[in-house]
Symmetry: D2
């Protein structure tokens, strides 16, 4: 089974807009929270990537909005990842209880500290990440 990370949090008042619902750009922030928690869940917090000079730069983001989220709602983000030599794709499902609020996708390239796009396949962290994902997928199946 495909490994997924899962994280939950409350909607902040700051995240709402004058329509009384969550402002749409905040879903992209929630996707980022989903990515961060997925990395932590693999025992590879993204700060380790930064320290070891392997970073991600976003090249695409998209979101489909199904239902509105409101202040103080408890939100759950389910995040899935696919890693390739040069890029990583994430997909996201945003729920309030069993109600799907939104689904999204982001695409990121591997870069080094100088901002140069790199093939990360031989980087030790790429290998660790790949192994950690495979291990979790075996455990979950």
């Amino acid at each position: 089974m495909k490994f997924s990370g899962k994280t939950s949090f409350r909607v902040r008042y700051a995240e709402t807009d004058k329509m009384g619902i969550v402002y749409h750009a905040n879903y992209l922030v929630w996707f980022e929270v989903g990515r961060s928690e997925l990395f932590r869940d693999l025992n590879l917090p993204y700060t380790i990537f930064e320290e070891q000079d392997l970073e991600l730069t976003i090249i695409e983001a998209s979101c489909r909005y199904r239902q509105s989220a409101h202040y103080d709602d408890e939100i759950t983000v389910i995040t899935r990842v696919n890693i390739f030599s040069r890029k990583v794709t994430f997909s996201y499902l945003v729920y309030r209880d069993s109600t799907l609020l939104a689904e999204g996708k982001t695409v990121h390239l591997f870069i080094n500290r100088q901002g140069r796009v790199i093939n990360a396949h031989s980087h030790p962290l790429w290998q660790k990440m790949q192994s950690a994902i495979e291990k979790r997928e075996r455990e979950d199946s």
Copy 2:
């Protein structure tokens, strides 16, 4: 020629992140600035829509990131619109001088104050908006 709105502003320090560039979710906010200025440019500021009970709710957003934007950069957003009976689509080009930084698209449904999706074709503002766009397209051609 297809009518487009154009608006410029400086990148705020608040909009940057620890990579030293603009955080990606802010492009969706800039798209919203593009929409607002396009409505104003048609002499139909979005606040008039709100007053006359015709609002837009977003159902899709996407962005492709080409180049990074930095603090204090002067950003220009070019916005184009297509209106239909039940929905409106906008496309956006984000520039720093002649450099294309990002391109995006959003899709919105017409709703009333109760949040109900409506066919806006017979709403006086829908007609005014359509005429204003056509007028501008004739003038620009």
Copy 3:
């Protein structure tokens, strides 16, 4: 002992700026998270206040910044409250482990749905809130 609410969360990448640290305005958002969790902790989530037509509008906010917060830091906000007939004051301490990062204060007036400032002393929720705080202070002492 003075009752305090306590809540913890991770710093989001979105909250950092090009200095590599958390952008200062976000501490005011964290104070709001502190307030929300304090209300929940009293079994009186702020959404109940909204439903029963007793809201808070901010008239003052201040923050002293001691140390920087960084991406992925685990932040704890300790919130204390004082309620009066017409206003509520909150004070906040923001920590990463035992390091004090910032301290702040906000002042809010009670208003009704029409935005009118009111004396809340006789509102049932004011009484409940006062009792809930006193109960917690007895329990904690």
Copy 4:
């Protein structure tokens, strides 16, 4: 007369919250816009400070909220500055037309790229800044 910078912009939809007004933390972002434009107005954009290794780190911020701001309002921020050897203070007035919406203050220390607090009195940019302010105050009087 005391030199002041002045900048205007429209309220973004993203800046509103479910009360239908601008979320209070955004005033601190507006103060930052005020500072940026004041520096530009002195022909010393803040990016020059960054390039020449003289930065500002915030240690205090406060705001008093008088009246609400709404989506699409045209906002004007008037910013005044006082520079000292080790710190800079700014004060801000936020207006919609002639209505004062908020007033605030921030205090910043001079730091170098390593984040170390420094006495900036002998830094060439400190001198230039001081001269530019004095020149503007003579011109304005």
